[in-house]
Symmetry: C2
Subunit: 431 residues, 2 copies
């Protein structure tokens, strides 16, 4: 179900972990039943926060781009999961086309691409890379820095199909590793004969965090009932604000009111559980990728300090809060640290299987900050060996990655439901 990866946790099991570890048969059965009803995204990564008293997903990425941070042992596992996924969409596939980000200047990202390519080649597919960039007019070698290289080719629209190499490479499945922040390019539109994974409406120009967390609410409600736990233990409180206008005072006023209301609710929950820490909220752009425009706020005064109205004189979507739709989420502090720096686990899944994970670490951030910002580093979570488990030290007796795998899969299930609900053509779904 969830491979035993070595987390940094060495203290006693939290009550959430205890509950999950003792309920694995119920939990795994619950997921099996859910996957009879819903189709998991082709691949998913989920950023988590473990506060000890609660564990929550904070971001569900449908275009995971950190395969280079996974342990080598994940290859057979990821390959097997990828086989299961491909089989579902395209059993007669020979070829797989991967469409990467257009910006190929980041060595990390190239290594991610190389790992992805390797996984899908190991499934026995011919894998080639086709770019949406206008700069790629012919096959272009991109150096990986370790003596190996990747060849990026020009995408072609060939009537109703997308191909490479003058139509010679005609894939059955097209795997997007480009989050389409700038919208779905014309060349990818109205593709009906080939399977585009994930579908275009998973792109960040269309996707809304509020839809995701609404689906997550639904998933958690059902799961918590089955588990007999308080949903709050795995779900951050949140509220959505639409049509905020930051060009005058009304936007700020509405935001402050909503933040204060949410902080009150969190305070009440903290009291219920005897948590003495100071509550905070994260303010996020409802549409958008990564850590762009994520603010950590403890009170109304901090919002005033942001001077949102002034910032909006030069309003663009990218700088964060000059947008009209905002998601306010209960902030979840992280108890995970690596070498003194705060860390948060990231879980990688292909089809419905957890295949690996790593820590996102930020030396200059605190336990309540967004870590997905410049300066972050990554640390692979290695697979635990049987001999280590038996030694029963370093917290290896139990698979403490299991709980992360459960919460990440709940977020993945939410993404499945989100994609179903937002699908412009609902007939697509394999049931």
């Amino acid at each position: 179900m969830v491979p035993h990866l070595r987390t940094a946790l060495t203290e006693a099991l939290s009550s959430i972990e205890e509950k999950m570890l003792s309920s694995t048969p119920m939990i795994e059965r619950w997921f099996r039943m859910e996957w009879q009803e819903h189709t998991p995204p082709f691949y998913t990564s989920v950023d988590l926060r473990n506060a000890g008293f609660k564990i929550s997903p904070v971001d569900t990425n449908l275009f995971p781009n950190g395969f280079d941070h996974l342990a080598e042992e994940m290859f057979p596992l990821a390959t097997q999961a990828a086989m299961a996924a491909i089989e579902k969409y395209c059993p007669d596939a020979r070829n797989l086309l991967i469409i990467p980000e257009t910006d190929l200047s980041q060595p990390n990202y190239l290594r991610n691409l190389a790992q992805m390519t390797k996984i899908f080649r190991l499934t026995g597919l011919n894998v080639r890379l086709g770019s949406l960039s206008d700069d790629i007019t012919q096959p272009t070698q991109v150096d990986l820095g370790d003596g190996e290289s990747l060849t990026i080719e020009r995408l072609e629209r060939n009537g109703r199909r997308i191909t490479l190499d003058g139509g010679k490479f005609d894939p059955c499945t097209i795997l997007l590793n480009n989050d389409l922040s700038n919208g779905a390019p014309l060349i990818l539109q109205n593709i009906h004969e080939q399977t585009l994974l994930p579908p275009l409406h998973a792109g960040w120009s269309v996707r809304r965090k509020s839809n995701h967390f609404a689906a997550y609410d639904e998933v958690v409600k059902k799961f918590s009932k089955a588990m007999d736990i308080d949903p709050w233990l795995i779900n951050p409180l949140h509220t959505q604000l639409a049509d905020l206008d930051f060009t005058n005072e009304s936007g700020e006023t509405a935001l402050i009111a909503a933040v204060e209301s949410l902080l009150k609710k969190i305070t009440k929950k903290y009291k219920e559980y005897g948590i003495t820490e100071k509550p905070f909220v994260m303010i996020k752009v409802d549409a958008g990728t990564d850590g762009v425009g994520v603010l950590s706020v403890r009170n109304a005064a901090e919002i005033k300090e942001l001077g949102l109205q002034n910032r909006c004189n030069n309003c663009t979507d990218k700088d964060g809060l000059c947008v009209r739709n905002v998601l306010i989420q209960e902030g979840v502090p992280t108890i995970e640290t690596r070498h003194g720096a705060v860390a948060e686990p990231v879980v990688y899944m292909i089809d419905r299987y957890v295949v690996g994970g790593f820590y996102r670490i930020h030396a200059n951030k605190g336990i309540t900050d967004n870590l997905n910002t410049e300066g972050m580093t990554f640390e692979t979570l290695p697979f635990v060996k049987e001999s280590e488990r038996r030694a029963d030290d370093l917290g290896l007796k139990y698979n403490r990655f299991y709980t992360y795998g459960v919460v990440a899969r709940l977020a993945m299930l939410a993404a499945s439901i989100e994609l179903e609900k937002t699908d412009p053509d609902p007939d697509h779904h394999i049931s």
Copy 2:
């Protein structure tokens, strides 16, 4: 598709290996399409022979009992494959009942059971062991010798269902790890509400090697056509003799004629490929397990030396040749050796996935002998690390286990077809 395990092969790739490694996209696609039509056995192990000039399965076991010989790295892989298998038969399963062999005196076998139990517990199932033995009247602890133990319970027939613990443990799936050589016991008959895996007609009291190899002929014919190779390269020639009577001379006479005819065919093939070794055949009981009654023979004189007619004065089924149905198979020598002893690879699969493998080694046997006899030892095939692969020594550049994985999966596919064709209730099949 097939994890990269470290074989002992270090010489240049054989032409079969070259062909298979360069055809992986075609091969993997071929299997994907076949698994759309056929349901793989729940689990399978296949003994292979690699002669260099040809690679063949020699035994396809539907009750694999060597999980203890697999590398530790297979756990996540085997667990994931087991999840896929369980999901197919019983998505709402909470409990899995394993029925082991009744003889629990072999430490090896107990370790196999412990590993199996671990794999299925990792999928999130409650796993318990129920014995067919009359000696088990109450929960019995069996010591594994390493401080751990297994609890074996008494099987109960509870109306239409099989249960443990006075009906408290009521499994959805029942996994047989008992090859039913002595027939299907009454308690397992007419089970319709629970899924028995593999089904009763996979038991050795019913199963016939000739059915298996007839199905294998069919599979290889189709595969070889797609691959454009001579089927002989992956299929031993064979012939089936029914109703041989060894109580008088007629049995021996018919056997000699058939052996001479098969040896002629092999000689012809050897000439075609310029193979200078001396051909031999294996004479096997058509029904039966393991290495019981497998004889390696080079000419008619060797058959006469066996004195079959005299041996049949005290005729039982177990001593090998006092039976009426015999399979004569082209013998495939093995080029694999470990520490100077002859070896043959054994491939382990769960559902349609290769999860691991090991060598069966016999220091006192030759390259044409059956190795599945007393005195055999086992050596785990470890997973190859990326850093080892790059070093490009010890033959690790290519996944040479791949070819074994392909031939083993062909044999597994043959077993699927065999089980379909021999099913007393053909409506069972999931399509």
